[in-house]
């Protein structure tokens, strides 16, 4: 990319930075209103995902990156999904067959 293109990018970087700052404040603010745990997790994770998306897409240039990188990440995310399956394996796996109190 040439210098002019880079100049345009710089504007984007500043915008993204402001968005990240705002989102950080939003997520902290939400935590102060004490939502019930499941929705608190959902909101916080959603905000974090948006922020992570912004960083990846613009700072790490994923939005304009080549497909090979996307494929590496897609593969990685598939295995990431497997690894997140792990707590499920433990916690849903164990079903006591009989009531275990005396």
């Amino acid at each position: 990319m040439d210098a002019a293109e880079v100049k345009a990018h710089v504007r984007v970087y500043v915008l993204v930075f402001s968005a990240l700052a705002v989102l950080t404040i939003v997520t902290v603010a939400i935590s102060y209103i004490h939502l019930p745990t499941p929705s608190a997790i959902a909101v916080a994770m959603a905000v974090a995902l948006v922020k992570a998306g912004l960083v990846a897409a613009f700072f790490m240039h994923l939005a304009s990156e080549r497909h090979i990188i996307h494929w590496v990440l897609i593969l990685c995310l598939a295995f990431f999904a497997f690894v997140m399956f792990l707590p499920l394996g433990t916690n849903l796996g164990i079903e006591p067959l009989w009531p275990l109190s005396r």
């Binding site: 710089v10 930075f17 935590s31 080549r66 590496v72 593969l75 690894v83 792990l86 707590p87």
Partner: protein, 210 residues
């Protein structure tokens, strides 16, 4: 050392469109995603396994949210200066690059200093990795996870700062001889740095807010 001129170190590969270094760092980051993925997955397993009611939120456990927020801002800021320093190189502004890059290193160091203060504050209140969360009356691995995850992240920050420092002080000489290659190196350093930022973006709400 190696005298062999391997292709695609500077110019992108015609099919993949990236240099070898860039493909390599992305593969490394993929493996880092799996590392932190395993850690997060373990966090979920331990938290669900301990019963939700026994798990403190960061505030309940005595973590300082304003300081955490400040640190988040510091790290996001360093990410921005990092990308700006790369853009400066692209625009052939070496001076601006040096300024931005030095700021990045400074902000990274600031992050570590703040983290160190948070740790020592915890230690002085008798909070160590091996304590549970005594208030709840049930053991939990909250602090163990807090120290392990943030400690591992801090190690990543440190491992980002050191090569960056080298690049700023010694590596910059390459700008005179091989601009393309130096810009490529800064881009790779940047990708790693943004990833470290990205991990913190998840760690912060998970540990401090939830």
């Amino acid at each position: 050392m190696s005298a062999i001129d391997l292709p695609y170190q500077i110019e992108p590969h015609p099919v993949t469109g990236v240099t070898s270094g860039k493909l390599g760092i992305w593969l490394f980051l993929a493996s880092e995603v799996m590392l932190f993925g395993s850690l997060f997955s373990s966090y979920v397993l331990l938290r669900v396994g301990s019963g939700m009611e026994f798990w403190p939120s960061g505030v309940e456990a005595g973590l300082n949210v304003p300081i955490g927020t400040f640190n988040t801002m510091v790290l996001i800021g360093s990410s921005v200066t990092m990308v700006m320093s790369w853009a400066s190189l692209k625009m052939n502004k070496l001076g601006a690059f040096k300024g931005y890059f030095a700021t990045t290193i400074f902000l990274g160091a600031l992050f570590l200093v703040v983290k160190a203060f948070e740790y020592s504050d915890k230690f002085s209140h008798g909070v160590f990795p091996w304590v549970g969360w005594p208030e709840a009356g049930d053991p939990s691995t909250f602090y163990a996870l807090y120290f392990t995850l943030t400690g591992l992240h801090a190690l990543h920050v440190l491992l980002g700062i050191l090569p960056n420092l080298w690049l700023l002080v010694f590596g910059v000489a390459m700008w005179e001889t091989d601009r393309e290659r130096f810009t490529g190196r800064i881009e790779i350093a940047g990708l790693y740095w943004h990833f470290v930022d990205l991990v913190w973006i998840f760690l912060f709400p998970v540990l401090y807010l939830l």
